[in-house]
Structure formats: structure tokens, C-alpha cells
Symmetry: C2
Subunit: 799 residues, 2 copies
């Protein structure tokens, strides 16, 4: 029985044991997996991001030193043009890289792929928020040195990142030369032909200012067509024998501090570098002002010192983990994996400002660094519960781009606003309209994120000031887009749903249900904030129109087969010939044309299942079971977005082993590099989905009616599952064991109250009293529905 330990257990922040589930460790050179490691070891604070490239930059696969939103905008051409095809594409670019510290040992560069590597270990510490490195290496000429470094991107100090670098000779005196660079326009190798990779511009930054001064320096650059300015300052502290010399020089694209001298065994050279990053439009603060700002910020960090940064980092993370940590007893590997996932979610966003979180966060340049629907559909549902202010920032970013969304709707000759399928700067960048422009559900996904944020926080001010406008303009889109049939049904024709192996269908269930929520949510919000709504031109007739459309939205159902159709007619399409599909044929999109994929019943990723996850109240339990089985047999999971929603539904319909295996796939997407794409950046949506798989799947959290309800049921592999979430300002902790569910408000005042439902029973949890309830037995759902041949996730559940 683990139940009693749930509350007794010390909070993670108090832990002193060196628990491997709080660390991600990689040992050895592992030259084949450099890119993957660079993504896994990426550090970020939602503003600045450093990929986990080695201090010396090489060997490495893809450098990356990002500032959230910094991008270039490039011409985009088509073999056959079409009206309103986006003529430019945003693509993420690196800011000047301040992470680089290169070392020469008796004039030989430190390169772990040469010489003798005695020891090489890197550890991402999820509790302290630093990346540590220790390397013991003998140069080709036989000089042995020990290198240690500690790197962080400061969570509390938005512009700041820092690295402490130490080197000492081990056997004999050596000439050491350490070059600490701030380097703009670092060469980024071209990547593969894979359509999902990024194409990287060469020399995207133009120098506006560069200066070196003592141990410090600053670079200011601007982009071309995207008209942004980026400034980075570095400031150093040196701790070394007096015999070393330092020089600092600057050229337009580089500031370099060189420290050189002869060190003896027992002596040590320690260089600490503090960097500060700012970025803005070129018509914002001028170059010199921005330079002054980053210099001041870097100086301040140096003045406080690296230890202070470490202490603050830990404190920030302690606070974050208080809510975000998930205890998963019974599977140490996945305990570690879910902490890895939560760490990257914590550091992906910020509570201040109006930036969002792209598909890869600040961990790589995959998908050109674009923001996609993943953010609102996978990432924000988690952050809304764990760090609502971060979710608010991301929604504020959407709101700030309403002008472009309105323009785009006008260009497409649609009503209201239509948000981009892919973007950085706010304008549509998708170069494949059937997947991009036609996937209008992104608008409902944004509305859904607004509604969830408001439901969880009751932040009426945000609703009135920004959320309402997002809801209203997207509701207008649906109302204008839809078509009333003669029988009084409201249809959305010719749209692409989440599944990328289908396109341009009629009445995609996910889209229609989400549009219904969008329309009703806009109506409710407009009625609640009628003054604000009035200023947006909303009148009662418009509200009534939204409600009528929402009520009449057509949901296609195949009564013969007893299942919902992903989109109208889906269940009458040809079946995929799985018998003749080889293992090597996956992912199918790289081996079959859209012509084959689109017209057949083969599903890349959860779509109808996603609808059941997001709108559980729209389906009966029996429908969910039948639908799940039907779509499970046809879903190949060629997308990392699929496992988590499938896990949620598998758990709900009682296939807990399958749910667990799907959860495992989702949470290990990057640590195990399941898609062989981790090198391009982490799959934040998959990592967020892992939390949803646990909390919605096994915790049974449902929030589609604005109330908090749990139908928890644990799989065999989990002895105890404990997670927290914020609800109306309180932290609710939920602890589940096979026999009991416990709900408590560990930090709340005695009079605090949270109401919730547990398996249909209404409970009231207060600050003074935890509530426990038995876990009802899981009804036998029958045999597990088959996945496509060879596509079931690995069986971990039975281990």
C-alpha cells in the first residue's frame, strides 16, 4: 500500500538524494547522436534558448542560439501559383551565439572526436536547471586536461544566459588558450530533403554595431525583410593564475575574448561568461540603446555572480516543480521521462510578455521554427493548469496578431479572422494550402485555449481585454464559412482536419465540434462582457446566429457501422492495404502520394479520437468505445501528435495497457528519438501530450464543461500517480493508487475550496481537509482493439 506515503513524501524540492529520475545523463562521445543530444540538452527560458551544443561548438550537428520570435522572412515560390498562396515564409534564425568557448591545448584544439577521450559526461539537471559537463581528454600530442562546465539559461532573468568553464592540466604543464566567442551568422549546415526539416538562410544578420571593451563585448545586428534588431552582450569573470594574458577584440560578426597562458597541474583556469539577449523591431529602440541595455543586463548578472544565478535558478524551478512535478511510481524510466518532459515545458514559455511557444520551442529549427496548432491544442492545455500566466502570454501573442489574421481572412474572402497554420511573425507561411489554409480548425483551437484559460483561472479581465476579441473574430469566421443545408443543418465543407492523411473533407467532426465550442464560447463571453462585445460590433442578433449555427452543426455518423465518420464519407472510403505495406513503408508520407493517402481510410494521427479527447461530452461511452476501436485499427501514428490523444481515449474506454504503452511512446518521443527527428528540436506537443495522457487518461480529468471532473483509473504498471494542477488560484494535488484517489489543496488557506467530481460524485476539497475516495473497478472493455499490423506501440505495460 502506497497510499499513506502520498502526503508524507517530502516535496521534490526538498530532496537531497541524487535521484537519477531528476537527471538526464549522456556519457561518451556518441558522435552519431550529436543532434539529438543538442536538442535534449537545450536550455531555455522562453526568451533565450541555447541548444545543447558542446562548449567548443564542434563536433556538433546544428548550432542554435535563439531569441523567441527572431526570424527572417524569405520569398516563397510555387511551381504553380495560386490566389493567396503565401509569398513569403518566416524561418527561425540564430541570434549571435554566446555559448561558445573554444580551447587549444598546446595549439591543438579540444575536439572529442580526436585524441583520447578518457571521460566525457554531460548531465542535464532537471532540479537545478543547469547543464553540466565534465571531460577528461588527452590531445593527439599527449597533453591531458580536465574540462568542466556549467551552463544555464536563467529562468528568472529573461535576457540572461551564462556558462562557467574550467580547465586544468592533469599530467604536465601545458599552454592553454581559451577563446570565448560571441558569434553572429554561425554556419548552420543544410539539412536533409525531409519536408519536415528546416531550410536555413545563410548570413541572415547584418551587423549594426560591435564593440569589445576589457573582458566584455556587444554585437547589434538586424535582419533583412523581417526588420528585427537583436543585441547580445557578454561579460566575463576570469579566475586564473596571474601569468595568463587576455585580449578582447571585435569584428562585425564576432566578439572574442582570448585567455592564454601556461598552466601547471594543480592550477586551474576558470572563465565565467554572462550573456544578455534583447530583440525588437528595427523601428523600436535604436542599436545603441539596445546595446546599452544588454551591456547593463550582462554586467548586472556578472556583478551578482554565477552562484547567485544558480541559486535563483533553483528557486524558480522549485516553485515550478511544486505544481509541475508528477510522481509515477512503478516505472523509474518513465518517471524520469515525464520529468524531462515537464522540465522542457517549464522552460519553454514565460509568464511575462506576449511571446508564444513554437512547435520545437527554442530547442531547434525544425518546421522552420514555426508556431503551429500544437501550441493551443497540446501545450497550452497543460500550461493552463500548471503555469496559467505562461498560457496567458501565449494567447496574448495570438491577440497581438489579430490584425494579420483579419487581413488574411479578408484576403481569403472569409469573415472574421483566420489565424495562420504556420508562422513566426504572424502571417500565414504554409506553402501547401490543403494542409495549411484549409485546416481552419486552428482558429477553434485558439478559441478553445482561451476558453480553457478563462475556465481555469476565471481571468475575466483577460477575457474582456483580449480573449473576447479572439472568440468573436473566430466565431465570425465559422458563422460566415458554414453552409445551411435545406434540412436545417449547418455544414463546414472542404476543410482539413487534424489528420494529415486526409484533406479537404466535409464536416470533419473535430473541426465541427470545436467550431461549436468556439461559437458558443463567443456567445457566452459576449453576453458576459456585453460592453466590450458592443465595441466589437457584436449585437444580440449576431450572438443568436452563433448559437443557432452551433446547435445545428452537422456531425456525420455512420449508423451502419455505429461509428462517427472522421469527416463525411470517411468510413466508406477504401481501406488501406496493410497486408502489402512493409515496415519500411513508414512513415507512409515518405512512400505514398497524397493521392493514395487521402482517399483511403488510413489515419496519420488522432482526429476523431482527438475530437473525443477535446469534446468528451459530445459522445456517449458506447460511441467512444466503438469509435476508438474503429480508428485504432486505422491509425498508423506517423505523427508524434497522435500517441497522447490515443492514450487518453484508450484509458477512458478501459484499455489501460494500451493507454500506458501509448503514454510511454509519447513521453519517450525525444529521449528515445522515436521519430529520428529529435535532432531538429524537441516535440513539445508530444511531451505535453504525455502529461495529458497521465492526467486526462489515467487521472480522467475532463474539463470541457468548465467544471473539474476526474474519472481516474490506473494501469497495472503504475503503483501511484500524483500530480497537481491549478484551479482558480489553488493548487489541487491528486494522488491515485489502485485503491484510492486523494484530492487535496496542500498550499491553500483553510477556507479555500475547490469543487470537483470524482467518477460522477460531487466533492468539495478545502484547505483543511483532503478528500479520499475509492477507485471503482475498471469495467472489462473486452479484448484490446487491434492496431494496424506492426503499429501497436511497444509493450511496456506488461513488463
Amino acid at each position: 500500500m502506497h497510499t499513506s506515503s502520498a502526503t508524507d513524501q517530502p516535496p521534490p524540492t526538498a530532496g537531497t538524494v541524487d535521484d537519477e529520475t531528476w537527471q538526464i545523463r549522456r556519457s561518451g562521445a556518441d558522435l552519431d547522436r550529436l543532434g539529438e543530444t543538442e536538442s535534449i540538452f537545450a536550455l531555455s527560458n522562453g526568451w533565450v534558448g541555447w541548444r545543447g551544443v558542446l562548449d567548443e561548438g564542434a563536433p556538433g550537428e546544428m548550432p542554435g542560439s535563439y531569441v523567441n520570435g527572431l526570424h527572417e522572412r524569405r520569398e516563397q515560390t510555387y511551381p504553380e501559383e495560386g490566389y493567396a498562396f503565401p509569398q513569403a515564409n518566416d524561418t527561425v534564425i540564430s541570434a549571435p551565439n554566446a555559448a561558445l568557448i573554444r580551447l587549444w591545448v598546446d595549439d591543438e584544439p579540444l575536439d572529442i572526436s580526436t585524441g583520447t577521450l578518457h571521460r566525457h559526461e554531460r548531465v542535464l539537471d532537471l532540479r537545478t536547471g543547469v547543464l553540466r559537463r565534465e571531460t577528461e581528454w588527452t590531445s593527439p600530442a599527449g597533453r591531458r586536461v580536465l574540462i568542466r562546465s556549467t551552463r544555464l539559461v536563467s529562468l528568472p532573468r529573461r535576457p540572461v544566459a551564462a556558462v562557467r568553464y574550467e580547465v586544468e592540466p592533469l599530467d604536465a604543464p601545458v599552454e592553454l588558450r581559451v577563446c570565448s566567442d560571441l558569434l553572429a551568422n554561425e554556419r548552420v549546415p543544410e539539412r536533409s530533403d525531409d519536408p519536415r526539416a528546416a531550410s536555413v538562410p545563410t548570413d541572415p544578420l547584418t551587423a549594426e554595431a560591435h564593440q569589445a571593451n576589457g573582458l566584455d563585448g556587444v554585437l547589434v545586428h538586424r535582419t533583412g525583410r523581417s526588420e528585427q534588431r537583436v543585441a547580445v552582450a557578454v561579460s566575463h569573470l576570469l579566475d586564473a593564475p596571474d601569468t595568463v594574458t587576455t585580449t578582447c577584440d571585435d569584428v562585425p560578426d564576432r566578439v572574442r575574448l582570448t585567455v592564454a597562458g601556461r598552466l601547471h597541474p594543480g592550477e586551474r583556469l576558470r572563465l565565467t561568461k554572462f550573456a544578455a539577449y534583447e530583440c525588437g523591431p528595427v523601428d523600436g529602440p535604436p542599436a545603441d540603446e539596445l546595446a546599452d541595455l544588454v551591456v547593463a543586463e550582462a554586467d548586472a548578472a556578472r556583478a551578482d555572480g554565477f552562484d547567485a544565478l544558480l541559486t535563483d535558478q533553483r528557486a524558480s524551478l522549485d516553485a515550478a516543480w511544486q505544481v509541475a512535478d508528477v510522481l509515477l511510481d512503478g516505472d523509474a524510466e518513465l518517471q524520469q521521462a515525464i520529468r524531462f518532459a515537464m522540465f522542457h515545458l517549464i522552460q519553454a514559455g514565460r509568464p511575462d510578455g506576449d511571446r508564444t511557444i513554437s512547435a520545437k520551442g527554442l530547442t531547434g529549427n525544425g518546421y522552420d521554427g514555426h508556431v503551429m496548432w500544437d501550441t493551443e491544442t497540446y501545450v497550452l492545455p497543460v500550461l493552463t493548469y500548471l503555469a496559467p500566466a505562461v498560457a496567458r502570454s501565449a494567447l496574448a501573442w495570438r491577440h497581438s496578431h489579430l490584425p494579420e489574421a483579419r487581413e488574411r481572412a479578408a484576403e481569403l474572402r472569409l469573415a472574421g479572422a483566420t489565424f495562420p497554420w504556420r508562422t513566426i511573425g504572424g502571417r500565414e507561411c504554409s506553402g501547401y494550402w490543403p494542409a495549411g489554409t484549409a485546416a481552419l480548425h486552428v482558429n477553434a483551437d485558439i478559441a478553445d485555449a482561451v476558453l480553457r484559460y478563462v475556465a481555469v483561472t476565471d481571468d475575466q479581465r483577460f477575457l474582456a481585454e483580449a480573449g473576447l476579441e479572439l472568440l468573436v473574430e473566430t466565431a465570425r469566421l465559422w458563422h460566415g464559412y458554414g453552409h445551411w443545408s435545406e434540412t436545417g443543418a449547418f455544414h463546414l465543407h472542404g476543410v482539413t482536419g487534424p489528420d494529415e492523411y486526409s484533406a479537404l473533407g466535409d464536416d470533419n467532426v473535430f473541426t465541427n465540434l470545436m467550431a461549436r465550442r468556439n461559437l458558443r464560447g463567443a456567445a457566452d463571453a459576449a453576453e458576459r462582457h456585453s460592453d466590450a462585445a458592443g465595441r466589437l460590433g457584436v449585437d444580440p442578433a449576431e450572438i443568436a446566429g452563433w448559437r443557432a449555427a452551433a446547435d445545428a452543426l452537422f456531425i456525420p455518423y455512420d449508423s451502419e457501422r455505429g461509428v462517427h465518420e472522421q469527416a463525411a464519407g470517411f468510413t466508406r472510403q477504401p481501406e488501406w492495404n496493410f497486408a502489402d505495406t512493409d515496415e519500411d513503408d513508414y512513415p507512409l508520407l515518405l512512400h505514398f502520394p497524397y493521392l493514395e493517402l487521402y482517399r483511403k481510410q488510413v489515419v496519420k494521427q488522432a482526429d476523431l479520437v482527438l475530437a473525443m479527447q477535446h469534446c468528451p461530452g459530445e459522445f456517449t461511452a458506447e460511441e467512444k468505445a466503438r469509435n476508438f476501436a474503429y480508428y485504432e485499427a486505422r491509425t498508423v501514428r506517423d505523427s508524434s501528435l497522435s500517441a497522447a490523444p490515443q492514450a487518453v481515449l484508450a484509458a477512458e474506454v478501459g484499455h489501460l495497457d494500451l493507454a500506458y504503452d501509448l503514454f510511454a511512446e509519447s513521453v519517450t518521443q525525444d529521449l528515445a528519438d522515436l521519430g529520428d527527428k529529435t535532432a531538429d528540436g524537441l516535440h513539445l506537443a508530444s511531451l505535453a501530450g504525455a502529461w495529458l495522457a497521465l492526467v486526462q487518461g489515467f487521472g480522467g480529468l475532463r474539463d470541457d464543461r468548465g467544471v473539474l471532473s476526474f474519472d481516474p483509473r490506473l494501469p497495472r504498471r503504475i503503483d501511484r500517480l500524483s500530480f497537481s494542477l491549478r484551479w482558480r488560484g489553488h493548487r489541487l494535488r491528486v494522488t491515485l493508487t489502485p485503491n484510492e484517489a486523494r484530492y487535496e489543496l496542500p498550499d491553500a488557506a483553510p477556507d479555500a475550496t475547490v469543487e470537483l467530481w470524482h467518477h460522477g460524485e460531487h466533492l468539495r476539497v478545502t484547505g483543511t481537509e483532503a478528500v479520499t475516495r475509492p477507485m471503482p473497478p475498471v469495467p472489462d472493455p473486452g479484448p484490446e482493439p487491434p492496431s494496424p499490423p506492426g503499429r501497436r506501440p511497444d509493450r511496456r505495460s506488461a513488463a
Copy 2:
């Protein structure tokens, strides 16, 4: 009564009157319409094509000197790649231009946009097959000259084109300098952003050999990636006062003959240039061999002389017009227009070899010079009746590219062969797969053209040697592509039909009916040529499978509205909002996204109507009337391919005025430049469609069952319509007046017989006896069905 004159009337070849309906005349500089004129005055023989650019090349809009099939192949990239997206695009390029003759008058270049233009007239003579030009011009310095030229591209001599150029001073002695160029890599200006225009490579040709010798010269060039070689020789005859001097020089991209001297009024300089063009693969005849060949061909033409070329040209055309001429009494303008159309069809193809006819023929570089489905669906149905050997050549071209079509099918993971939507060299070039790859009907269109050719000619040898293989491989495509539903219907999902304002529909009626014909035609042919079929691996079981699929093909019908659905669900899509569509919004594709166009009931071009034209036996008369009215109201004719099929059906259902106006639109597409695109080249499909509008529409020709039947009905504007067609080796002449239809075999031996049906009555026409029958009254079809607001064709019918 005009009836009696039909046979008395002298054949057109005997005409001596200078009949304007046999000439296309343009007077004045008309600098705004240069491109249009260049297309209209283009000369071709199906192998060589010269755009109607002025002799001096300038002012001009787009030079063009083509050899059928000569192209370059260029990399094609996509903003978002997809499996099997074509990675290269064929684009037509100009062969070295031998048409150029530049003139300097006292060192001032002849340029009709400068100086004083007293007279400037160009005439395309449809009966003699030459382009004549006469210009009287005073140079800015005040020197007056008269220039005359006559240009031809020899119909009987495949490689040969020639121009006779004369200049004489009028007022005073002048220094004349005439430069006759053979020029490779002539600059072609970049054209507009319009997706339908071509993008033109710079310097596509690389010199392999160049030589000048006396008054002659030759250039040999090769292309890059398309690996073709092209050789052009010029040979001159000079007739001028002895005082003139000549020099001939060559550089890699040019041979230039310069003739210079002082001429007095009354003296004349006449230069005749004979050019010969050959083209082949670089691994074919080497450069020197090809050079020798074209030199010999040019020399032979010069030896025979220009007058001989003129005589032969006339004889060739006389023979062609014997079949191709259409008499249309009652509307002299359209009489001229249909002759213009037929002239361009005559000169677009050749009976020898295995080249086809691209969408623009050899008249311009629109659509990159690509061959599209237009050829088999619009052009070959006409040429099969008028010049069956030309149709055979075009089908032999398709057959020669079966290897690429099989490869493409394998790449797309389909069965059999799938022919390219757009190509020159035989491989798929379409960069927009929903319109290209998914428009699989091109395969059935090719099969249909094979079946028609064999039905009309009974050329069983072609069928056994080439046609059968085309039929079999396309039948295999359909059989493999289709899907058997549980109810035993055979479905073709996710295809794009002819209408480009729809895409990726299920069971497009045109596609399904044409696939049915393809499957049955393959089955019939395989049974007739069972040995040849056996060599292709066809066995009785496969044939039975084709027949079963053909019988079961699903044809969607909306029983509520009593009309066929263009594709499944079409009639339940939203209607287009014509009320809010401005005149400036057309063509819609330039003002609305596919998202809007595809999901609504708006039709760019005949699709269901095309199905009724091509498969009339699949619809009842009542269905045709209802379908026609339904689709007429939704068809905006943003494609030049639409008017003709609409005309055919309008005539069939009895709306003869509308039919006539649609015919008028089709036949004047280029002479009136209705789409403002004639500058890119002529719309051969529209011009061919004009013949179909007359012969299928008013003549009532139906040939979908392999028998010849006519249900003629004349519109008010036509007093007499007479046309010929070949059937099993005989020329059948049909002459229609309001009261009588006459069928005769004017050239046949007495025992020749053609069987046909006239309004359901079986007739036998022999070489000795014309058959006449009364024209039955046209049943009242009721009021004309409305076209979309503002989209009815201009009313000419009532004039």
C-alpha cells in the same frame, strides 16, 4: 433555298475571288497587340513553328522559333515537398530563329514604332499558307522605303521554312543594309505573374558547331538537362543590283548574312532565305551529321526555289481544305473565324512521325509549351475525322512514352500506367498535384482518343501495335485504383475531374464514364487482338475484371434535384454567391482561394456537360436537359475549354441561340483575344472545340457507340452549314439547311458505302448517290436556362 447549291458550289480550292473569309488581315502598327498578332500569324507545319513576329524582330512581344518537342528540363522546388512531387519541369525553348531579317536605311534601323508609317499591313492567307507583309515607311531621317515579305513554313517539307524579303527606296537613293540572322538564345522577355504564363530559361542552348559559308550558314546547339540537339541551316538567294556587297559571318550563337549597298528608286533588293530545322537526342546523330543534314535540306529548298515552295504549300493546303473546310452561310465573320481555326489545326500536326500537339501548338510558350489532356479531348476528336494520320502520330507519341507512364504509376504505387498531366518529354511536370496527379481522367482521355481513331479508321494494325497497349495499361490503372463498395458498386475516390474549380472528389461522373469506356474498350480490343493482348499478359480473367468494374462503376445522381452530381455530393455543396461577385472578380481563380472555389457549386469549365458530350449514350434526353440547365447556371467559363462542350449540349437540348453564342465564343477565342491570353499562343482546344460545336452541336454527330449518327438542327443564324469528315477512308460531306440534310461521298468510287443514322433513321450513302432527308422541327425546349449573372456569352444569335 440553298440546298441545291451545296453540291454545285465550286470547291474552295478553285476559288479565285479574293474572299476575306480566307484571310486574316491586320493593318497599322497596333503596338498594343503585338503579342496577340504574333500568335495569330504563327506559321507551323507540326514540326517547325515560327511565331508571327515582324521580320525585323522588333517591336515584338515574344520571339518564338520552335521545333516540336524541343525543350529544357529544369529543377522544380516546392515550399513543402511531398512524395512523388515532380522534381523537374519541362519548358519549351526556342530553336535558333531563322526568321529574322533586319534592315537599316541610311544607318537607321527599320522600326515601325519610329519614323512615319504610311502603310503597314500583314495578311495571313489561309488558302496559300503564307504570311504576307507590306510596309511603307519613312525613316526619322526622311528616307522612304517599301518593304514586302512573304513567309511560309512548308507543310509538305517537314524541316523547311522560308522567307522572301524585298526592299526598295521610294523617293531617293538610300544606303540599305539587310542583315539576315540565324540567332540562337534570342532574348525572351519575362512575362507576367499569371500562373498560366510560362517562365522562360535564359540561354538554354549551348553551341556545338557554327559555320558560315558564302550565303549560307549552320548552327548546331544542344540543351542541358533535356539532352537534345538542334541544328538549323540557312541558305540564301540574293537578287539585287550588282553594287551591293555581301558578307556572312558566324559566332557560336549566330550566323549573319549582311547585304549592303546604295539603291536608287526603281531598284529592289530581294533576299530569299531557306531554313531547315532538325532536332534529336544528344545520343542520336552527332552534331556534324545533323549539320550536314540541315544544310542539305536548306540547299535543296533553295535549289527548288521559293515559288516551288509556294506551289507545294498551296497543293498541300488544297488537299487539307478539301476535308477541313466548313461552310457557314449567314455569318461572314464566323465563317472567317472557323477557317482561321481550321487553318491552325491543319498546321499544328503532322501525319509522319510520333510528335503530338501541345496546348498552344507551335504558336507560343504558354503553359510552358506543355501537352495536356486538351490534345486527346478536343484536338484529336477533330483531327481523327479530318486528318486521321495526324491523330495517329499524336497517339504514337503517347505510346512512345508508355515507359515513363508505367514508371510514374509505379512511383505513385498505382497499377498499369498513368500519363502525365503536363509534359513535353514524357514525364509528369505538374507542380500542383490536386489538379495534376489527381486528374487521372487524362488516361481515359487518351484511351478514348485511341478508340475513336480505331472506330473512324478501322486501323487494326495501329490498334494491335500500339493502341492496345495504351488501352490495356490504362484499364489496369482504373481496375487497380477503384474500390468495390459493400453494395457491389465500383468507385473512383479522390480524383479531380475536368473542372478546375473542384478537386479531389469521389466518383466524378466524367472520369467514371470515361473510365468505363476505357475498361470496355480495352476488353474489346484485347479480345479482338488476343495474341497481342497475351503478350501484354492479359488473360480472360483480367478482361472479365475490367468488364465487371466497368459495369459496376458508380454514377452519382441526385434524385431529389433530378440531376447528376458532377462528383458525389456536388449538388449539396454551398452555392456560389453570384450576387456579391463583381465583374472584376473574374476569372475567379485570380480573386478567390481554392478553399472557396473547391467547396462551392461553381464550375470553371464543362465537366458534367463534358461527360454528356463525350458519353451521350449514358444519359437520357430528359437528364441531359435537366443537367444542362443545372450546370449552365453554375458554370462561369473561366476556361477557354468550356464554351464548346456547352455549345454541343445546348444544341442537343434545343437551346440553339445559346449554342450559337457559345460556338461564337469558342471560335473567336483568339481572333478576339477573349481571354487576353492569346499572346502566349493560340488556344488550339478552343479552336478545335469550335468545329465540335458545329459538327456535334448543329450537325448532331454522335460517335460514342462506334457508329456514325447525326441529329442535325440549325440555329437561326446559319443558313447553310456544310462540313466533311473521313469515315473508314471515305470523305463524307454533310450539308445542312433549315429544311434539309444532305449526305454524300463526293470523292468516292461508285461502290463505296457509308452507313449512318439521321435522327434515328438508318441511311446508306454511296459513291453514286447523295441522300437527303428533311430536318425535323426542333422541339420547344422552353425558356433558355440562365447562365450566372453577367456570364452568358455575347448575344450574336439574334443579330
